[in-house]
């Protein structure tokens, strides 16, 4: 039953469910043969063992199944430009992003669900939403001045904007106080003085640093949009992702809140969550453009990406670059590097993969080539044959 649990995705997201139940006809046949009290777990074992033929090239079939579909994807990708809708990368670029396990994805998005006591009220939800949006110093200033003579950066605060955000100069002062900068607020001006600065370039750098200081909200969350569900509950969709900080909030329902950043989810929630997220994202990306790829192919790829506990991409720096076989690696990309390293570390290629056996014109260990049959010369077959020959 544990293995089955892995097949399921988080309950909230889950339109994806893979049925691992034994078909009725097998149960019936089993019971007919071994009686009503027969052990169903034994049947399950048998059933799971016979799901895939030994030697089936599941990897190649998965690659072909997704690869064929994604050739159509390239042409169909469309962009919707809108103001109130958060645009997420879709189509082939998104697939590439997931399979490469990119550290910084182009459109990180979070879906924040709230605990039932908050979710019903629009006011409460929108309060939370405005609290989590990150406000930087750069967002509240109207102009700035750089003076090499005074060795200072002066930022003019836009008073209306701070009022809008519900901030005050005191908050800004306290935030600046936490940094190591020599800063003070004079009326509506933030003045930062750094005596060590000797060039305009460094002053600009200093300015960029100050502008990037977070005043309120959660870092990297740039926008939040309320969404109303059918049952009149609200949830928040944000641009920018910071799962770790969001989950610390009391109002947030930790069991359902999720981001679309696979690497981040793997760091915060663990590898199983990341695996499920990969499956979910790939499946939905394909589904959105009307392509139906069997879930099991995606399962396989997600499993391969997550098998060693961290999310690894497929490609030169991921799975393909870590193949055991020297020749398989060399035939994929940068052959020189792999061959030289192999010679330095005295690597041995067992010829147990597809690529290297193709290279040397040997039978590949897949399908009919996976089985090696050796007939014992003194086996029963030969004995009978010998006996027959002797008689004649």
């Amino acid at each position: 039953m544990e293995r089955m649990a892995l097949m399921y995705l988080p309950a909230t997201r889950g339109n994806l469910r893979f049925n691992m139940e034994i078909p009725e006809k097998y149960v019936k046949a089993y019971k007919d043969k071994y009686g009503e009290k027969a052990d169903i777990e034994e049947l399950r074992k048998l059933y799971e063992h016979s799901l895939i033929t030994p030697g089936e090239a599941v990897g190649v079939i998965a690659a072909q199944s997704i690869g064929e579909a994604s050739t159509q994807l390239t042409l169909r990708t469309k962009h919707a430009a809108g103001l109130t809708v958060i645009n997420t990368t879709s189509g082939l670029p998104r697939l590439v992003e997931i399979f490469d396990a990119k550290k910084e994805i182009s459109t990180p998005v979070m879906e924040i669900y709230l605990k039932p006591e908050y979710a019903k009220s629009k006011q409460k939800v929108s309060d939370i939403a405005s609290r989590i949006i990150e406000i930087k110093i750069g967002d509240i200033i109207s102009s700035y001045d750089i003076s090499i003579r005074k060795k200072s950066v002066e930022l003019v605060i836009d008073k209306d904007t701070i009022k809008q955000y519900g901030l005050s100069t005191k908050v800004i002062e306290s935030k600046l106080g936490k940094t190591k900068l020599n800063a003070h607020i004079n009326d509506d001006k933030i003045i930062i003085i750094d005596k060590t600065v000797d060039s305009v370039k460094k002053l600009i750098k200093l300015h960029n640093k100050v502008v990037d200081i977070t005043l309120s909200g959660i870092p990297r969350v740039s926008r939040a949009i309320l969404t109303r569900d059918k049952d009149d509950t609200f949830w928040i969709k944000t641009m920018g992702s910071n799962v770790e900080e969001i989950l610390k909030l009391d109002e947030v329902d930790q069991t359902r809140t999720i981001s679309n950043d696979v690497v981040e989810v793997s760091n915060v929630l663990g590898i199983e969550a990341a695996r499920n997220l990969i499956i979910d994202e790939v499946y939905n990306t394909l589904q959105n453009v009307g392509l139906n790829v069997d879930l099991r192919h995606i399962f396989l790829i997600a499993d391969a990406m997550c098998v060693d506990g961290t999310v690894r991409g497929i490609g030169r720096y991921g799975l393909s670059g870590e193949t055991e076989s020297v020749f398989a690696r060399a035939s994929f990309e940068i052959p020189l590097k792999h061959l030289i390293e192999a010679s330095l570390y005295h690597e041995v290629d067992e010829f147990s993969f597809v690529a290297n056996n193709i290279m040397s014109n040997q039978v590949i260990p897949i399908g009919t080539g996976a089985i090696k049959l050796v007939v014992n010369e003194n086996g029963r077959e030969n004995k009978e044959k010998d006996a027959r020959e002797n008689k004649e």
């Binding site: 089936e56 079939i61 192999a342 010679s343 041995v348 290279m359 009919t368 996976a370």
Partner: protein, 600 residues
Amino acid sequence: MSFVFLNGVLSGQIEEPRKLVKNLITDRRSGKLPSSLNVRYRKETDTVVINTDGGRLVRALIVVKNGKPMVTKEDVSLLSDGHITWGDLVKDGKIEYLDADEEEDAYVALSEEELTAEHTHMEITPLSIFGTQVAMLPFVNHSNAHRNVTAVKSVQQGVGIYSNNYLIRMDNDSMVAVDQQVPIVKTKMYDDPAFNSHVFGQNIVVAVVSYLGYNMDDAVIINKASVDRGLFRSMFFRPYKIEETRYIGGQSDKIIIPDKDVIGYRSEDAYQFLDEDGIVFPSVEVDSGDVLIGRVSPPRFISSIDKFRLGVQKQIETSVECRTGESGTVDNVFLTSTFDGNKYVSVKVRQDRRVEIGDKFGSRSGQKGVVGMLLNEEDMPFTYSGITPDLIFSPYSLPSRMSMSYLLELIAGKVGALGGRHVDGTPFTGESEEELRNELKSYGFRENGVETMYNGITGEEMKVRIFVGDMMYIRLKHFVANKIQWRSRGPIQLLTRQPTEGKSKSGGLRLGEMEKDCFVAYGAALALKERFDSDKISIPVCSKCGLTAVYNVRKKTGYCQIDGEDAPIKLIEVSASFKILLDELKAVGIYPKILLGKKV
């Protein structure tokens, strides 16, 4: 204040640019300024651009004033009677030439009916909005624009008479069609005599019907009897060119019948058609492998052994033979000398190309297809009057493509054939569908062009009326005879021992990466291995050091260059390309040690 540019050079400033433009145009129309001058005010850059230089594309348009064309009916009749000339109209400012710049400010009407007060110009004929090639397609205004583009593309590939002196020309891979016709359905463009001497295509009887399944998916069925009578027959010319090059050191090639002691001498049979001068004589039937021009060349490298050998150096054979898979009649032998004074010979072989299954045909409406069947005349469907079509076209090619010009040409062709006249299919101004239908009716046919037809095999009447008529079809240059290629065994590459690539080298078809993946996915491991056995070799390996050893196959003994005679040598089966990889690894200093396992 705007700037004035004359031929791209800043020449001055002016307060009222629009007035300048207006004045210049009036002066041009009155003949004070040359008709090739064009002027335009560019609003976005606030400049006046005046162009008088050569090399601009210009277009003749009728000048329109107050919604009335300047060229009147009187002018037209005077022009057709020869009392005035085109030049007079231009001089009078009734017709003027606009370049691309001035065209931006013009508002041009297509026809007189759509003229309004805003219009500045009118097209002389609506046909002039098309290029030469589109204007040669009948009824293009009825078809989808994309179809017309396709139609032009396929007409360009048509085999016709590309040049009237083709007999003495030596073009590479030229094709000339025999017995070509001027189309029944013409456009105005065909009035140019040049198009009558460079004809392409033939007027044939076409029936639109699905028949025997041999014309599905854009295939066509062609009447075999028509082909026997010479329908779409064409000639294919292949020139073979050779030069008697002179080399440094006084040596040179020689165009002669090679001697038997020449390196690379073919059989005597191969040289049988050569004349005394070493060149094949005209009107000889040659087959692939026959030598057309005999030539011997001095050896490329003078080897050290030859230096001490007495007698004449051996020459190499460098003759030109008829290409593999091709044959034909020697049409023409051409002898001259090059700029360097070398003897230059070219021989042209002519091949007769009958229509065969797989040849490509197209109409002038973007409907092209490949011959799926050459059907005997007795099996072709026939009409009540006994007409059998030359070609059967599939009706399923029509609805999705909406090439209405195909249907119109078919009816128009029928009208033309019955009335013994050419039909004007010029876009916009040609004969209308209604006229054609009425005329067809007057000949005693159904006005929509359908006729009762009978199945040629069973003789049964077909349940539906078949759309049948005459139209022009063009044989396209893609002949199967030029493309067919096969190989079971054949030449291999020297280095990799893999089969060569390409038709000319009689190469194999590559089983590529993705095709390989299909074998893997299917699990056909042994079949896949066999596919890649084309460069299979067995190499001796020393089981001690794991490097390739030396092996005498006949004596079944070998030795390792490192471990000597005693080391056990085993033969392993690998691809030649893998052996090269091992050799190259050794060359860069990596030791690829082969560990031999148990034989399974």
